[in-house]
């Protein structure tokens, strides 16, 4: 069964450093998402991406965040200068048009020290 994969599973970084979280969505899906979940809190929407551009973003997704689909298979989330409060689980999801089910990856745990 096709699945969304994410790497790394755990990323530890120093405050102020740049991180790139990687996702490989399901191959025939066209819509891609990043969500995050701070420990003990809700899963929050960050950004959606379609046709090589951002279709919607939340207030959380400020100038420190960017997304890219560099090669037609990977979908990345970059945080330019990490803050302590960026520590969370980051989930990638993808969606095929015609179905409303979003497929989530297993997540990347980001720890900012």
């Amino acid at each position: 069964e096709p699945e969304v994969t994410q790497t790394p599973s755990h990323q530890v970084t120093q405050m102020g450093q740049e991180v790139i979280l990687r996702c490989v969505p399901i191959s025939n899906h066209l819509y891609f998402y990043w969500y995050r979940q701070i420990l003990g809190q809700k899963v929050e929407f960050l950004v959606s991406f379609y046709n090589n551009e951002i279709s919607e973003k939340s207030e959380i997704f400020d100038d420190q965040f960017s997304v890219e689909r560099p090669d037609g298979s990977n979908f990345t989330l970059k945080i330019r200068s990490t803050k302590l409060e960026d520590s969370a689980m980051y989930f990638c999801a993808s969606w095929a048009a015609g179905s409303h089910e979003q497929f989530f990856g297993p997540g990347t745990r980001l720890t900012v020290l």
Binding site: V4, Y31, Y33, Y35, K42, V43, E44, F45, S48, Y50, S55, E56, M89, F91, A93, W95, H100, E101, Q102, F103, F104, G105, P106, G107, R109
Partner: protein, 111 residues
């Protein structure tokens, strides 16, 4: 807002018992979806019920939808320890593709 609110926040039952969790929402919807999240893992889609459906079954899952009350329920029958997880509802209005999750129901099934 398309956010659903799950109730109760936590539920503890014995293996073999049924578990019922509820969801309320505020806006019109095209469908409502239920997801499960095992501790520290990603969300797994369980079932989708369309706005013109009142009840749907999938294995040990039974979902109901009452659009007049803007509420849904998820019933897990004959629960197993492996059902221990957080359960979230996601009302989908169609205006945007994003899903908005509430705080979920934390289900603990004791062996």
């Amino acid at each position: 807002s398309q956010q659903g609110e799950e109730d109760p926040q936590a539920l503890s039952i014995q293996e073999g018992e049924n578990a019922t969790m509820n969801c309320s929402y505020k806006t019109s919807i095209n469908n409502l979806q239920w997801y499960r999240q095992n501790s520290g893992r990603g969300l797994v889609h369980l079932i989708l019920i369309r706005s013109n459906e009142r009840e749907k079954h999938s294995g040990r899952l039974r979902v109901t939808l009452d659009t007049s009350k803007k509420s849904s329920s998820l019933l897990i029958t004959a629960s197993r320890a492996a059902d221990t997880a957080s359960y979230f509802c996601a009302p989908y209005g169609g205006a945007t593709n994003k899903l908005i999750f509430g705080t979920g129901t934390l289900l603990a099934v004791q062996p």
